[in-house]
């Protein structure tokens, strides 16, 4: 079973439905639907969650989901403190999504900016920045993040900034290379010859032309940020209780895996599905954003 097959299949027979499916492959539609659903759930968490994520019901601990013989009032069961897993899942998704969006955006903006600066100034500025990139790339980021959080203490803001720093080097390297090659392209030279300022050339011409690659990098980086956040939270250095995130749920459910597997498996499934959806959607988006491929 290949995920990419709907994207790469050769031309199908004519027909409106066929053409629609070729433009919007079913798996991509499914992925988009899942992303939208996730975002909606995150946005509406306060209204749709049956309970608050800290509400405990100590008489109903470690209850299985309703389809495994649990109670109807706790559709996905309860954890070791009798908290509703459905509600916690909704809130955890919201936290993970917000943190991943913020973290990935910080990395993307920072890295892209650094890439542009390196490509514009060249010389020692470029060499220094690229040295930083290499330094960052040659360090296991997990260790760095653990060290920073252990040293400065854990705060939500610091945690998000640390997540943002993860991955900036990819954007910087990509952006620098693409800006350098785009600057020598005819259109950049032509617009320069018209008298445009470098700022205009970069923002109006080069950035839109390299944006598709950056978006692909964003969609690759986004799941990585979610995974980093969940790993850190799993290790207990990320989101701290009583706040919750998918990784934190996964981590606390680990000790009950034999007795109540659903506590860990449900958030784990959510992590898997959301990262997969975003990756697939990003892949499709890259093809759509290229106008030279648009009418194919």
């Amino acid at each position: 079973m290949s995920i990419a097959s709907p994207l790469t299949e050769p031309a199908a027979a004519p027909g409106r439905a066929r053409r629609f499916l070729r433009r919007y492959p079913p798996l991509v539609l499914l992925a988009a639907l899942f992303i939208i659903l996730t975002l909606l759930i995150s946005a509406a968490a306060d209204w749709i969650a049956p309970y608050h994520y800290t509400t405990q019901d100590l008489s109903n601990r470690l209850l299985p989901p309703v389809f495994l013989g649990g109670l109807a009032q706790y559709p996905l069961g309860t954890d070791e403190l009798g908290r509703d897993i459905l509600s916690r899942l909704i809130y955890a998704t919201r936290f993970s999504v917000i943190i991943a969006i913020l973290g990935t955006s910080i990395g993307a903006v920072l890295g892209t900016l650094i890439g542009f600066i390196a490509a514009h100034f060249r010389g020692w500025v470029e060499e220094t920045l690229m040295m930083l990139v290499d330094a960052q790339a040659s360090m296991p980021f997990m260790l760095l993040a653990l060290a920073v959080l252990a040293f400065f203490g854990n705060s939500l803001v610091l945690f998000i900034v640390v997540l943002g720093i993860n991955g900036w080097e990819n954007y910087a390297r990509l952006t620098r290379g693409m800006v350098l090659s785009a600057s020598s392209q005819g259109y950049a030279v032509a617009v320069h010859a018209l008298g445009a300022t470098p700022a205009r050339i970069y923002t109006r011409h080069i950035l839109p032309n390299i944006l598709s690659v950056l978006i692909v990098q964003f969609t690759l980086n986004f799941p990585a940020t979610i995974l980093l956040e969940t790993s850190m939270s799993f290790l207990g250095l990320g989101i701290q209780p009583p706040l919750t995130s998918l990784g934190q749920m996964l981590g606390s459910g680990r000790s009950h895996l034999l007795l109540a597997w659903w506590i860990a498996v449900l958030p784990g499934t959510m992590i898997f599905l959301s990262t997969l959806s975003i990756s697939m959607f990003g892949d499709w988006l890259r093809d759509r954003l290229d106008p030279t491929l648009r009418n194919r």
């Binding site: 259109y187 030279v189 010859a193 018209l194 032309n209």
Partner: protein, 330 residues
Amino acid sequence: MTAMVPLLAAKGLRRHFVLQRRGLWQRPVHLRAVDDVSFEIHPGETLGLVGESGCGKSTVGRLLLGLERPDAGEVAFEGRNIIGQKAAQWRAMRRRAQMVFQDPLNALDPRIGLGRQIIEPLQIHAVGDPASHAQRLADALDAVGLPQEVAKRYPHEISGGQQQRVVIARALVLDPSLVVCDEPVSALDVSVQAQVVNLLGRLQRERNIAYLFISHDLKVVRHLSHRVAVMYLGQLVEVADRESLFREPLHPYTQALIAAVPVPDPTRRGRRILLQGDPPSPIDPPSGCRFHTRCPHAQPVCRERVPPLDPAGSQRWVACHLVTRAKESP
């Protein structure tokens, strides 16, 4: 052409590119792309600049527009020196001098609609308000003979000839007094070439634009130019008005170039002058006259002394010891 104030005067332009060192300890290699080139362009005239590929024609065009900084020499445009200007002044000059490129598809941004690209010069130089831009866009499309709906298209959706018309429209939207055309038709089909050349000619008559028309195609240059400058290995070898140059080329290199143009006339056979070998490398040009290695009339003096670009008649210059000597001796 009497004592007119030239629109553009280039004096002693020189540009040497520093190439990558071949080895760590070797001295960097210089490529002499343009060496001591001087000429003038008058308002409303076309100066054709011809030469083999790699002789530095395009570099001259870029030097004139300040896209490249010369190592020596100066360029005066509309009476003002443009070399070493501050960025803001250079940008102001950009309103009056534009460029048309060889590969039009490459010169257009693939992701922006053509209409927006045509009026982009107006936005860059903050000319007029958005309402007037729409009118200017319509006028520009009319002027280059494109249908209005092209404004909504993207570069890859139209033909090469149409792309070049868009590039010309973009170059003209600011009403420049000089347009540097760098091989504007060599990437186009022959049938389209004629259309674009005729368009350039018509626009020149309507708007009194001066062109520097860079090309290796003598037929096109002959059709469009008032005067022609011939370049060989980074130097000008002959400058003359079109009629005299094609009727009676003085420099042996010009003679060879013109003789190589196929003439549809079976009676004029056997007058081709074949040049020996490839042009020498501009990294290590020959001593004396750079053409002496391939010149059928080379003399010992050609190997030793560099021939200056001397006057040879009215409004005519040639850099050849033989021509100058022939004038002096009789």
